[in-house]
Every structure is written in C-alpha cells, then in structure tokens.
Symmetry: C2
Subunit: 459 residues, 2 copies
Amino acid sequence: MSITQNLTISISSSSSSFLSPSSFNSRSQVSLPVKSVSICKCVATPQEAETAYKTRVSRNENLGKLQAGYLFPEIARRRSAHLLKYPDAKIISLGIGDTTEPIPEVITSALAKKSHALSTLEGYSGYGAEQGEKPLRSAIASTFYPDLGIEDDDIFVSDGAKCDISRLQIVFGSNVKMAVQDPSYPAYVDSSVIMGQTGLYQKDVQKFANIEYMRCNPENGFFPDLSSLSRPDIIFFCSPNNPTGAAATREQLVQLVQFAKDNGSIIVYDSAYAMYISGDNPRSIFEIPGAKEVAIETSSFSKYAGFTGVRLGWTVIPKQLLFSDGFPVAKDFNRIVCTCFNGASNISQAGGLACLSPEGLKAMRGVIGFYKENTNIIVDTFDSLGFKVYGGKSAPYVWVHFPGQNSWDVFSEILEKTHVVTTPGSGFGPGGEGFVRVSAFGHRENVLEACRRFKQLYK
Amino acid sequence: MSITQNLTISISSSSSSFLSPSSFNSRSQVSLPVKSVSICKCVATPQEAETAYKTRVSRNENLGKLQAGYLFPEIARRRSAHLLKYPDAKIISLGIGDTTEPIPEVITSALAKKSHALSTLEGYSGYGAEQGEKPLRSAIASTFYPDLGIEDDDIFVSDGAKCDISRLQIVFGSNVKMAVQDPSYPAYVDSSVIMGQTGLYQKDVQKFANIEYMRCNPENGFFPDLSSLSRPDIIFFCSPNNPTGAAATREQLVQLVQFAKDNGSIIVYDSAYAMYISGDNPRSIFEIPGAKEVAIETSSFSKYAGFTGVRLGWTVIPKQLLFSDGFPVAKDFNRIVCTCFNGASNISQAGGLACLSPEGLKAMRGVIGFYKENTNIIVDTFDSLGFKVYGGKSAPYVWVHFPGQNSWDVFSEILEKTHVVTTPGSGFGPGGEGFVRVSAFGHRENVLEACRRFKQLYK
C-alpha cells in the first residue's frame, strides 16, 4: 500500500475504496472475507478539472442529493483506513451483514450440477423467463406461503431483495411519497432519493424532505405510531427489522395492514430475515387477512443459505394489488423485470431449488441456527456488561444502546480500541442515533474473540 | 393446455405468457429452449375490476406510455398462440437472439469448481465488491481494451448489458434527451420511456416524442446522417448493430465521436456483438482517439460464451468522462451500482474469468465461429432466393429486406407457412419496417431445416 493510495483514500471520503484481500490477509491472522480492491481514482483533482473536457450533459440532480457514500462501502472505507493505521491489527468484522459460513453441500452440489449440465446439449439453457423458472417460483410459493393464497405467478425471482427494491421504485416513479421505519436498511431511502421522490436532505433533522420517517425505538416497542403519520403512498416495512432486530407481532401487522387499507397505501414488506424469527410472530405479511390487496413482499436466499455472493431473491406481488386506476401493480413490475432485467442466473436458480428441497431446508435451518447461537453470545456479552440490548431473538442483528452518545463516535471507539467493525446506528436513519448494530454473521471463534474484546473495553 | 388457458392468452394480448417447456416438447420433435410457463392472470376481468379494492397510489404515468409488451415476450406469446393452433408443428425459433450451443467445458468446469468451493471455509465468499471482482475487471480490461488506456477500475462487472442499460438510465435521470439508431435493440427506447425522458408515443410516426431516431438503412450504409440531428444528451449506438448486423467503420466512429465532442453528448456504445466482427472494423469505441471523454461502453458474455442464462456483462466508464459540472460519470454509476445492485453472481464471475483464459478464449471463438457458419447458411439462402440481405458478416443477425411489406405481416406469414419464428423489423423501431431479422443462434440442423422451409416458401 503506497502513500499515494493512502492519500487517495483520505481525499475521496465518499468513494468505495477497499484494500485488496491479498494485502489484507498478509497482515491479518483473523482471515475474514473482505471486499475486493478498488482504489477509486474517479475524482478529478482540481488541476485536472480546470483543463479537462466536460460534456454538456447535466448531472442528475437526484444523485446530487444523496448523502456521502452508501453506508456499507463507507464502513469498508473506514475499516481500510484503520488497517492502514494498524497494519498488524486482527480486525474482526461484525459490521456489514455478510454471511461467513460455507453453503451446505446439498446446495452447492446442485449449483455444480447445473454448471456442468450447461456444457451438454440436454442441460444447456439460455435466456430463462425473466420472472424466474417455473419450478422455483412454485417451490417458493409452497414453502414460504402455504395456504396463504399466493400463486406461483405472484412470485418474481430476482438477483436479490436490494435489486428488487430499486426495481419497485422504478415502478412507482417519482410522484409518490414514501414512509420508512426509522431506523431501517438504507437502500429504501437512497433508492427513493435516486428516483426523485424526495426533496433535499435537511441537515438539521438528518432527514430528506417528503419522506415520512416512522420512528421505531424502545419506547414504542419498535413499532411506529401510525396515528401521527401523514398519508404515505408507499410504506417500506422490514420485519424482522434491519437493524433493530425487532419482529412485528401479528397485532402490529394487522394494524399496519389496516392503516394501509384506510389510506390506500402500498406496503413493501421486507422479510429477508423471516426464517430467523423465534416464536410465532408472522413470517409473512400475507398471513394477515387482506394484505394481498395492499402489500408486496420481498425476500432473499442471502441470509438463509449464505447466498450473499450467489445472488438470489424474490418478490411477491399478488394480482389483487391494484393502482388507483385499477391497473395491477404486478403487471407493471412484470414489464420492468422484462425490460430492465433478464432473470437471475440459471445456476443460482438451481441452487435456490435445492435450498427448498427437504434436505436443503434442513441444511439452511442448520446455518441459521449457527448464526442464532452467535447472536446469543453477543446478546449475553452486552447484557453482562450492563448495556440495554435489543433485537437478537428473531434476527441476526443485536442493537446495543449507548444512550446520549454519537453512533459514529461509538463505532470509532470500538474500532480503535478493539479492532472490531460494527455499524453505527445513525447510518440507518436519525432514529438509530445512540445505537450500534452488531452483526452475528461471523465464524464462531471471531465472535467469541470480539466478545472478549468488548468485555475488555467495557469491563 | 386447457381451454381456459387458451382464453387467458387470447385476452391478455400484451402479457408475457409462455407455454411450459414440457408441454411444448411433448408436441415437438425439434426441441429448442423455450421460455418457462407463465400464464398471466394479472389482468383483472371487468367484473372483478368493478368491485375490487384499489389502493390510492397512482400508476406511474411513464409506464403507461410504453407500447404493448416488450418485443421479445410478445414474440414468445405469438409463438405460443401458433402452437395452440398447430399443436403438431415443429417450430424452429430464429427469433429472440438466444444462444443454443452448450457452454465449452473449460468454462463450465470453472463454474462448477467455484460452486463446490462455496461449501468450503477457504472457498466461501459472501458479498463481493459491487463493481466486480478485481481479477475479472483486470482480465476484461486487458483482453478487450489492451493499450487503449482503459484501467481495471473503469470496468464495472454486471449481470448483463440489458441490466446496465437501465442502470445507466437511472444515472442519467429524466432530464436528458436521447438519440437512438433506428432500428435498434428496444431496451434503449423502453428504458428511456420508463425513466420519463420522453413524451408520449406518437402513433402516426411510431415514435416517442423527445427521442431522436437516427435512421439507419441501406441507403446510408446503416450509418445515420448526423448533420440532420438535433443535439442529444445521450446517444445509444450499437455496433455491430442489433438488428441490422451493420458494424461501423473506423471513419464512421471517428465521425460519431467528433459529433459527440462538438455537442457535448455522451455515447453509450453497445458492443455486445464485437467478437463477431469480421475484418478490421473497431471492436471498441475506445479505439477512437478522444472517445474516453465522451463514451461509455457496455458489453456482455451472453453471445460470446452462451451466458444468456448465466448472466454476466460489463460496462466501461472511463474516469475522463465528466458531466457538465465536472463531476465524473463513473462516480455516479458507482453509487447506483452500490445502492441498486449487489454485484454479479460470484459463480458467474468465476465463469467469466475462465472465458478470458487462453483456453476459454479459444473455446469462445469456437462457439462464435459455429454461429457465424449458421449466419452464412442463412445469408446464402436468402441471397439465392433473390432477397436483398444485410448484416450477417459481422453479427449473428441477418437483416432481410421485404420492400413495401409490413414486418409483422411477413413475420406472421413465415410463422404460418414455415413454423419458423423470426423477429419483425418494425419491433426495433419504425426504421425496421419492411425488414425481418433472422437470428443465427440455433442448432445446425434447425438452421438447415429452417432454410429448407424458406426455400419452399419463396421458391
């Protein structure tokens, strides 16, 4: 790592610069997956900018409204900067919710089998249906939505929930007003800004204009006060929530569906962590009567089967869900999927089908169980240190309260003193201020080591 | 296939309904890959619509401007309808440009190896860099852009060129004016409509308002008269062109780059068929001096390695390309890639790396050579029947002239009388009227059989 690169990192504070895995591993014994190299050189220096040719195309003003970098690249950048400062540090990452455990063999065998089959005349397939392969759509419907009236063709297979969130925003366009849990996964707000649904960022309140931030905190049991909300068109709701780990109860979801119905709003329900739910809270918004007329559900194999890199998710749009003019939302989503997407990889889809076989389901539950044990270790650690801890029970995220403190300060102190990467709560919205999210995705020995260091720091 | 399904197909004329591969194969001896089942039920019937609950969310008006279905699902629909009419027909598809030949084993072995590795601690990887894995970005830069000054971090790996076209449109936003070759790949125009860049569709001229249609026809050697063009912000330019098969010469591309420079426009250069070029026409826009300041290039492994289902492409955005305020286009694209996408499948990327090994390149050239032989057979056939035939030499598409005839009529006549699916030229824009595109993607025996039937029909 040369000084020049070091300087590049320090001047391009919102770029997504990462160290290379190789240079990182050579300095670190705790080997963890790291994002690949990309020292961003795409910011012109002042001298260059003066003389450089510029096109006459105006920059999209919506992109100019976005705040700094997307949260997780920013954390990766700070991690890289930390490693430059402490080249011998054994960094442990409990920051970005990236799965670490190998994919069960019953699933990888199916991925490999499909890969091999592509070299044969019988096994080769080219363009698949943009909406996903029929057997996979069918398996998703019957596995996750049995007896809920969700039909195979209500399922759209995708390359991940994050990608589908943006495709949904393209469907909605710029003339809608959205509401979002505060705190929540930053892709909801950022994709809304990109589509031009919001006004400018208001620094004083750390919110975008024209977005309803639904505060979720310990005081309201992490369920928003809907009565105080102006009517939104679109309600993004994630349960179990990322980052708070709170899983909404049936009563809460009944309230939410009723609110949507009363207001003619559409709920985009993100259930990417539903398989982590303990107890009998609903796994799907479609368990709530009437939800099919007001809700979309998006989910993913990422956190169930370790498919964060393999890329496979799905979105459910019931044909009962209609725009105000009676036009089916699914029909517009289908058009977007056909025009802006070409389906998930056929190999990933073969893997998804294997996930939903009896053996695959058992294997996925094993991986989820492992991460839930990690969660317990982290919860117990912070509990024992006297912190108020939320989440964890129904989600792979532990939401630790540091009352009165600035999240980024806490993040920095933890990183500086323990070499553990967490995620600052305020990165998920102003309602996350004073919290830090600790991810339970990690090898067991790393989670244990991180907890030892937390105990050292906060003893 | 029940009567109910038959009826559903006939009433939902713009839906993407396909027959199942199994029901198709049982009726057909010429077995070809077919899109999966999806009998669309998402159009409410009039009775339902009256009583159904509707949300108060307005439909995105831009989506309402789109014309019927996306071209290729529409063709698949007509194919399905044909099969209902002639259940015993041996349909041959030379319509949608879908690869048919197995992927060479040197490449599928790499796909399978990566799949297996994901079940091991050492081989597992989760989220990768959204921009693509470093070794693949590097291999793309050195294979396709040697000595052209394109750096590894100018390359963004993706799940396909079509997906990147939409992501580019998200970067540009709604306040740009685009120009497009007429005829051309329909995703350019449709994604522009979706992003709100255009006005309404003008039925009389079959064009959208606020798009410059650059007519490309035999009279101008399939290169547009740039002098007659109002200044566009964005110029979509595909070479070798889909559907005409015309590959632009160096002189033409020098003209194009100069035009962009004079007008401060950005060229989005689609080189998805560049490896099919015969002779010494440029394979990349970046072979033209100065192009890095005005051009983006998007490309794909789909038509080189048969990756239409595996999903892997890339987009090159040189850091020299700047918006009018000096802001680098690559930096906004990077933000979109990080926020709306999570990288291509790590398995597909391993396959892409294998494609670019010496053995992989040789194998890809073998597949391309095979399709080029198909092309020759098709060209010779129409030549011998006295048709004016274009394309073919540098592209897997043959562009056949039927002067004075309606493309859809020709399409229908060919389908009706030979059971061969082609693509009507007008589906690519009004400039395609009077032409039909015949794809060279097909098993040899099917191409030969299709040509026999053409000879029968037009003898």
